[in-house]
């Protein structure tokens, strides 16, 4: 059975210089169709100028993050009929510079990840150049940070964060969560450096624990928890 659902899509062209407008499209919807399917239908049949970023279509790549009815979600992960609405508003993520329509520039997120050195820091450069053994880890050591490795860097948490909205210098949930992921990793030796980095005005202390980051994560990761754990780490020094 086919239902008709109205898509209200945010349109923005940087060359127009305006604040963007909403355009409405009527989309025939079948059971199982996702928001991304609806957007692709619009692009293929109604308006080829619509820009939307996507890749895997199965909530793995994290490319298709948008706001659907004012809630951050992956377009490929949200079924249209499950929303039970005749009118669906699709907007780009907040807190990122807009490139076009639903496509945002993720550079601030990656810049902050880099600033927090979100990679394994080790002193044994010789071992890394010429590896002779594995870096072994116990199950308990893995469980300390395991849930945070499920992050697909879609950036939805960063978009949902009310602090980033008002204070753009705040590192944001995803970069801080990733910093904790490496801090808690027993193979990492950059704990002191990293806690010093997060212990800045724009660091962990600005989180107001709204919890919206954890609420919107499509992978069930809890960045709000990671920030609280990182606070404890920063207090310990």
């Amino acid at each position: 059975m086919v239902e008709r659902v109205k898509f209200r899509v945010f349109r923005y062209r940087p060359e127009d210089g305006g604040r963007g407008i909403y355009r409405e499209y009527e989309v025939p919807v079948k059971k199982g169709m996702t928001i991304l399917d609806g957007l692709i239908y619009i692009k293929e049949n109604l308006d080829p100028t619509l820009s939307v970023r996507y890749s895997c279509r199965m909530a793995i790549c994290g490319s298709c993050g948008v706001r659907v009815n004012a809630i951050e979600t992956l377009a490929c992960h949200t079924q249209i009929l499950e929303l039970r609405r005749r009118l669906i508003t699709v907007e780009p993520m907040r807190n990122y510079p807009l490139i076009k329509d639903l496509v945002t520039d993720m550079a601030p997120l990656f810049r902050k990840q880099k600033a927090l050195m979100t990679w394994l820091i080790r002193q044994d450069t010789e071992e890394q150049e010429n590896p002779t053994r594995q870096y072994l880890q116990s199950e308990e050591e893995l469980e300390r940070y395991l849930q945070f490795t499920y992050c697909i860097q879609c950036g939805l948490c960063y978009s949902a964060c009310p602090v980033v909205s008002t204070f753009p210098d705040f590192y944001g949930p995803q970069p801080l969560m990733k910093a904790y992921r490496y801090y808690a990793d027993s193979r990492d030796e950059g704990g002191v450096v990293r806690t010093r980095l997060v212990d800045r005005f724009e660091g962990v202390w600005r989180c107001h624990f709204a919890g919206s980051c954890s609420a919107v994560c499509p992978k069930g990761v809890d960045p709000a928890l990671a920030i609280q754990l990182l606070r404890r780490a920063a207090l310990k020094g």
Binding site: T166, P168, D199, F201, G203, R206, L235
Partner: protein, 121 residues
Amino acid sequence: MKERDLMLLHYITGIGILVFGSIHIATVFLTYPFQGTIWETTLRFDSIPYAILPVYRNALLAASLFGLLLCTTIHAMNGLRSIIAELIGARKRWVETLLVAVGAFLLVYGTRTILIANALV
């Protein structure tokens, strides 16, 4: 001062407000039976010198009042520092200097009031 030290101070002063604030409120309550006035009169501003001051002429209570003043001032100024920076989107040196000055004024004026109330000056 490092951000973590400031925030640790923020948490400690928050607990201090809870402790000293509870003592302060309890003291106000205690004035009622000792003064023999009705509750409404005890809380009326013009009755405060008569109702509360005698109770506060006690070194321990005066110290707790000073603790409340210190904790409230530090907690409030640090809270304002965060709120203002987040609202305007950046830290401003003049805002922080102003807050330190306001905090220092509140501490001096509050201390003077406590000393007067305790008949120490």
